[in-house]
């Protein structure tokens, strides 16, 4: 009988034990992949959301900073207003390179005049904007015209329609932005002229008119030199007491903290399960080595090489680990891929799935780590059955 056939027969003969090891490894490898996907995906999502906003400092009315950040991240609409003159004051603060105003609006909820329900509408000024405008110039070859909008990756024109109707106003979706994994994916971006035209039309065509208070803005996005960001933020705060200033690293801090709590929890569970699984597998193979003392003794007495038994034990462990880890990794990846949105809402965090190449690297790392862990846990029983002393004891018992 060949060495491979011997190992395979051993695995099949101890079906329950092999299945226990297989499931144990599959569960731990799956949990490791899930933790890695959630941790890395949520960090990537957060960084893309910050990149999409593209500002070094966000200035909003005092008291609304948390609400605005939640709206930007979750896509749940909010409205907040401050005087438009704040934009001019901020633009004059020393160290401010560029400043642009934004208006935050919401579509109506379940209204027949609207194709979409409760969508966050982000209105920008194309003259001063430095976040979307460069992308629009590059992708569309020019600015948005009246009645044209761009949307996050989940914004779509309803089936059978050519336009998106909001407040009785027909909007043309020109393009979709790259996914961020956050609520920005279901946010619609339009120019201030389109928003004002929509407000005008809504007076006669919508169930409820769109109200944009005159001479009001919702937020100001500020661009500064990196070294000056903190000083500029402090100056804005001193000059305009009615506003709250959020610096880029502090953006979505609440979400960042939530990611930390969730990932710490996952890593703790993963650490405990990994250690427990390694110990259990070591224990199972120790029992296996102990049970097979007589068999090993017979093989040695018949002249089998000294390293045959430990080699078979290690190969058995490697095969079961490889199969179990592969099974766990494939099932976990497929589940995360299919139930991504459900998981994100259940965990209350946003995460993007990494690229295929990145996932491939992750799978390789986890598989390698599983193999090393099981090699360590089975090395003790393997060493024991290869030691001359134990073999002597076996021979003596035959």
């Amino acid at each position: 009988m060949s060495f491979g056939a011997f190992v395979l027969r051993n695995i099949v003969a101890t079906g329950f034990r092999s299945a226990a090891i297989l499931i144990c490894v599959a569960l731990v490898a799956g949990l490791a992949l899930f933790t890695a996907l959630v941790t890395q995906g949520s960090e990537q999502s957060l960084s893309k959301a910050k990149q999409r906003l593209g500002a070094d400092i966000l200035v909003v009315p005092r008291g609304s900073e948390s609400r605005v950040q939640t709206a930007l991240l979750s896509g749940r609409p909010t409205t907040t207003w401050m005087p438009k003159e704040n934009l001019d004051k901020i633009a004059q603060v020393s160290g401010v390179q560029r400043a642009s105003a934004q208006l935050y609006l919401a579509s109506l909820s379940n209204a027949s005049c609207c194709a979409v329900s409760e969508m966050f509408l982000l209105v920008f000024d194309p003259v001063t904007d430095f976040t979307l405008q460069p992308w629009l110039e590059q992708e569309l070859g020019g600015p948005l015209k009246l009645g044209e909008v761009v949307g996050g990756t989940h914004v779509f024109v309803p089936e059978g329609d050519d336009f998106i109707m909001l407040y009785g106003y027909f909007l043309t979706l020109k393009a979709n932005l790259e996914a961020t994994g956050t609520g920005l994916d279901q946010t619609m971006f339009m120019t201030i002229d389109t928003a004002r035209d929509m407000a005008r039309i809504s007076l006669s065509r919508a169930e409820k008119p769109l109200e944009i208070p005159p001479d009001s803005i919702s937020a100001v996005l500020v661009k500064t030199a990196d070294s000056e960001r903190h000083a500029v933020a402090r100056r804005i705060q001193q000059d305009l007491p009615g506003v709250a200033v959020v610096e880029r690293p502090d953006l979505f801090q609440e979400f960042g903290q939530r990611i930390n709590v969730v990932t710490k929890g996952f890593f703790a569970v993963l650490g405990v399960s990994w250690a427990f699984a390694t110990l259990t597998i070591g224990l199972i193979f120790s029992m296996s080595a102990n049970e097979r003392r007589r068999e090993i003794g017979v093989m040695r007495a018949l002249g089998s090489p000294r390293h045959f038994a430990p080699r078979s034990l290690l190969t058995e462990a490697a095969l079961l680990t490889g199969l179990g880890a592969a099974l766990g990794l494939i099932l976990t990846y497929c589940s995360v891929l299919l139930f991504h949105d459900l998981l994100a809402s259940a965990l209350n965090i946003y995460f993007l799935l990494p690229s295929v190449a990145h996932v491939g690297a992750l799978l390789g790392q986890i598989l390698g780590l599983a193999m090393v862990s099981v090699a360590i846990s089975t090395s003790l029983p393997a060493f024991w059955i290869s030691s001359g002393e134990s073999v002597g004891a076996m021979r003596a018992r035959i």
Binding site: S112, H154, Q186, C334, F339
Partner: protein, 142 residues
Amino acid sequence: MKFLVFLAAIILTLGLLAAIVPQFTDCASDGKSVVLANGKSIPMKCHWSARAEIAVGVPILGIALGSAFSRRKETVRILSMLGVVLGALVILLPTTLIGVCTTPGMTCNTTMRPAMIAVGSLVIAASLCMLAYNELRGRAEM
């Protein structure tokens, strides 16, 4: 033979899931419906996908029971092939043939569609396993 019964039990469970899960994960189960201009409410697209899954789930149960009690190799072979086809239909109903609602955050999109893709894939995999086992068993008996 025991393995065949084990596979049949898996297919039976999956058939039940295919028929039951969509009934509780479509938008109608969330109380959502399409309101027409005349004020009348009609079910959304995902509701019809959910109904159609019953028509596919029940024959899958039949396949599972048939293959668990059948002794004839030819019968198991045909039932396995039917299992593959019905598994594919479980996937195709909410993805292509009827579809689900277009808004990404709705329950039919986050739960029903991925659940049916998973269940359909597992029905196909289990049916293929059954087919392979049946053929190997046949060869061993010869």
